[in-house]
Amino acid sequence: MTVTATKAAPRARTTHRWRQREQLTQWLFVAPAVLYLLAFFGYPAAKNVTMSLQHYSTATFYTGEAPFVGLENYAKIVASTIFTEALLNTVLFTVGSLVGQFVIGMALALFFRRYFPLSGLLRSLLLLPWLLPLVVSGTVWRWILDQDSGVLNETLQAKIPWLTSPSVALLAVVIVNIWVGIPFNTTILYGGLQDIPPELYEAAALDGAGKVNTFRYITWPQLRPVVNVVLVLGVVYTAKVLDLILVITGGGPANATQTIATQSYQLSFQQFDFGQGAAMGDILILLSLVFAVIYLRANRRPA
């Protein structure tokens, strides 16, 4: 703060003071937000790390004692039979959701790029699944997927145990999550498509490029930065999905839809082992970081 003041030559002291006051006033605008973010994101993140190293149980809330146990919580979690299953489910859920959302979202974005009557209206209606509360979507889908009276089986004339068989339940939640995520993907990708200069397409048309080649050599490379944002955000948001799974299957049947996120919830708020729950939460953060880094690295090759 003072560095700039002294650099500005030995001006009058009032100027110096005025500047300091000015800087302070300016900071006052940002300060509440910084404090809020520290209190509601920074502190919980840090506290979560400490809790993961403690034996933090119901008793802690009465006695106030939470002895440090080192990495014991992590060791217990990793050793538990459910961990591998939850980890695998998280990866399958995230990758499955992302691929489905992205491919369908991209197809819709390309479709809506063409101008046709009512396209704007239809595009905004498409946003509804994204805006609905997840509990609402989950509840509606739970009924649609019901084995005996769900409209899906009724239409398919089948008796698929969508939510009660361990082998299909994960697929069912992935399908619902794809449905939830399509609008977000379509919207951002559509925005990206709008930003591609039309001259590029004109040039390609002059060169006689077909649809496939136009997509491959113009649309895809131009869209790349937007694709990266969509997929990285997708990973970060999908890996932590909790409410949808809790509402549709509650993590069951037989832990078939249990993910790291739902498992973290179960440990803390069902089994009241907040230490293990916190450790699971930290693993979740690490996992989404790893996902994001792997994706970004895989795409670093020259265009």
């Binding site: 809506f112 805006l131 909790l242």
Partner: protein, 267 residues
Amino acid sequence: MRHRWTATTIGIVLIAVMLFPVYWMINASLQPAGTTLQGSWIPFPLDVSGYATAIADQGRNLLTSLVVATGSVVVCLLVAAPAAYGLAQFRIRGSNAVVFGILITQMIPGIVIANALYSVYNDLGLLNSVPGLILADATLGIPFSILIIRAFMQGIPREIVEAGRVDGAGHFRVFRSVIVPVSANALITAGLFTFLFAWSDFLFALTLTTNETVRPITLGIYQYIGAHTNQWNAIMATTVLASIPAAVLLVVAQRYVAAGATGGAVK
């Protein structure tokens, strides 16, 4: 010409498929209650008893959600609007770090926040309280709001701010009487989204309330499906009522929604 309408037809079919669950929800909410879950494809004759049951059972929870979501909007705008202005128009040291920090917050799962908040809230007596939920739910809107309001405020010409300053107004005065009115649209958009996020919150409602004193509608629905699976019309009527803010956002702020979806993410 005919080609264009073909595209429209395909578009309508695609949207109809995508929105089928929404139709099914409304359809089911207008059918009579029954032990058979099977519903017909069209609600005829219309039966609004599901709504009567829903309001009787869940009216209070809807009101709780309304209060909590409104409170979150107030907290969010009070915190986010000045910050967005500061980050957009001042050259403050560390402002890049603040923006980076905001992006990082998106990496932190809600369950991690809830886990830590539960213990703090327990100490502070904020569990089962409306202020506690308001503060927690505001986390869903604040980072997002700062980014979209800032993006808008970066477009405000410096001259407007300077004109106010030359007239002798302090920063806060300029902010209140010049910036806020000019940015009304951005503030409304951010406010609507924050309302929707807070209204849709399930995780904080589930973890930070332990009894029935404060029960948002999302938690109400969750307990409903646990308890009355034979009253699907009432459950669906509740979900329809809980979808009202989403519908309002879609209609009122339609052209901002797409901008909001990308808010700060791409730029």
